[in-house]
């Protein structure tokens, strides 16, 4: 099933790209630093657009994570073959999914989270994102795989 693996990889890469870009778009930085002025990138400064893209990418990511998780459990090469960096990225992704889903719940109508919880969620989500991007770059450059 090499094709399935490749498709999975590209879906992950594209989703990670859009979820990260739209995630940074939640902060008012793209306009300030002229990035949204580049033709075709104006949407980066439109908060409702990046909000929707972020949510949509999150839906794809959650579906992909479920798929990979179950595929691995039923069909995978065994936990022992997951690399150290693989485990690390899985942990970070799990943290991102959990904090992200909690933030989605927070944004629903009639949902009142404690203020400190909201601040912690915001910061944890941002920190995990930076760590995941850093680690992904490292594993990409060093050609480190998820499984041996």
């Amino acid at each position: 099933m090499k094709t399935a693996g490749r498709v999975r990889y590209y879906i992950y890469a594209v989703t990670l790209f859009f979820i990260a870009v739209s995630g940074f778009g939640q902060m008012p930085v793209f306009k300030r630093y002229y990035i949204a002025d580049i033709p075709g990138l104006g949407w980066l400064a439109q908060f409702y657009v990046t909000h929707i893209i972020h949510y949509t990418a999150a839906i794809v990511l959650i579906a992909l994570v479920t798929y990979v998780l179950l595929d691995f459990l039923f069909n995978g090469p065994g936990l022992k073959r997951i690399t150290r960096s693989g485990y690390f990225k899985i942990g970070i992704l799990a943290g991102l999914c959990v904090s992200g889903v909690l933030m989605v719940v927070k944004n629903l109508p009639n949902s009142y989270f404690d203020h400190t919880v909201i601040i912690v969620l915001d910061l944890v989500h941002l920190a995990l994102c930076m760590i995941l991007l850093g680690t992904s770059l490292y594993t990409l450059i060093r050609k480190k795989k998820w499984v041996n």
């Binding site: 099933m1 399935a4 939640q26 902060m27 008012p28 930085v29 300030r32 630093y33 002229y34 908060f47 409702y48 909000h51 929707i52 949510y55 949509t56 999150a58 839906i59 794809v60 959650i62 579906a63 992909l64 994570v65 479920t66 798929y67 990979v68 998780l69 179950l70 595929d71 039923f74 889903v101 989605v104 719940v105 927070k106 944004n107 629903l108 109508p109 009639n110 009142y112 203020h115 909201i118 601040i119 969620l121 915001d122 941002l126």
Partner: protein
Amino acid sequence: MTTPKITSNISRRAFLKGSITAAGSVVATTGIARAATSLTHEKQEPLATLIDIRKCIGCEECVYACQAANAEKYPEPEKPFPKMVPPRVPVEDWSEKREVTDRLTPYNWLFIQTASVTVNGEQIDLTIPRRCMHCANPPCVKLCPWGALKQEENGLSRIDSDLCLGGSKCKKVCPWDVPQRQTGVGLYLDLLPALAGNGVMYKCDRCYNRLEKGEVPACIEVCPENVQTIGPRSEILKTAHALAREINGYIYGEHENGGTHTIYVSPVPFDQLNQAIETGKGKPHLNKVKNMMADGTQLAKAMLIAPLAGIAALVGKFYLSTKEDK
């Protein structure tokens, strides 16, 4: 969800009296203070205000009461402001223009809009108190990337001036552009003042500290005409609808942006008022507003079934591979 006894008693009494005016003044001046206190501490129905536009005489008492009640929350910026890069980052300084009362500013969270309209063939000037609408699902609160805004269970939303970095996202996502920025104050000064942040955003905080003490918001208390009434949202809506029926009037704020906690009742349609008022920077419109958070809420539901999509894809893969094996 239970409604505090005192409030329902009051409005029932007011309704029994059959006078909406009585409902306004009674609710505003007596029991609501206690109701408001209990509403801030228990999981209760959100508070809303009814603004009866007919009654407002444009005296601006509420504007000055708001300023007096909230003066200690106003920014005291440090000058000169730190240089910000890139140069396009706007300096917004209202500290030398604190006396401005004809629009929203960091030092003026409530202002009076005027509309010259024709009612029953007669030309009249209506005056409309404008401030934050206190949306039921406020985008300013929900979309702040730092959690600098909060919404309390009594429905009020407010900006924590100790946390706000002044990026103005809350203003951009607010359908009425309500929050206003003051440069040179707040947390950003202690972080990277040149590169990130630009002060603090300010808006009506529903006099949360007065509500906590069991007092009504300053603008409501001071109004000589009892223009505003505060109470649990369902009761305020009931009163608003009764009033609208009585005067053949119109309602604004019930459905705008998915529903707000500020319900205006007017004798003329709001699109007519909207054309008659001056709108622009710091001067919000009275347009219809769709629910800005609705798409996100829809996608949140789709997120619930996302794992099912993953499972379906896996089942598909197994199906294909068994077929291949055959």
